[in-house]
Amino acid sequence: MYTPADRMRLARAYVPFQIFSQRLSPMEGLLKGTIFPELYFPYRRQHK
């Protein structure tokens, strides 16, 4: 399921597969919007 770089072909999009290792507690996961720390990318408000 994981495609190494040398097997990637042109004109195709790739998203790396997530490999599960650990999870947050249920309540922390709910409040963050994911139980997977490696998928947590919070928004930093930009001042414009």
Binding site: Q18, F20, R23, P26, M27, L30, I35
Partner: protein, 84 residues
């Protein structure tokens, strides 16, 4: 909504959310045994909290036996609850 009920509702949300996260992960990783074990381990906790909530505060789905009169329609509905 009183503190105790709100706390139990949030606990239920957290467990159900954890189950959903594993559900989506397993959809694309059906052979990840560790994730599968964690998913299976969450379910009894989720069921227990669900049962406790329903015993105290009424049905979460219309597939529950009801005392008289029909409990399913009781307010508050989810959008009417103050989640503070």
């Amino acid at each position: 909504m009183d503190r105790e009920r709100l706390a139990l509702l949030k606990e239920l949300m957290a467990l159900e959310f954890t189950a959903l996260e594993f559900n989506l992960y397993l959809d694309t990783h059906p052979t990840d045994q560790r994730a599968l074990m964690e998913f299976n381990a969450i379910l009894p906790q989720l069921k227990a909290v669900k049962q406790k909530y329903q015993e105290r505060y009424g049905p979460l789905t219309a597939e529950e036996p009801s005392s008289y009169p029909w409990q399913w329609i009781n307010e508050p509905w989810p959008w009417e609850i103050c989640y503070e």
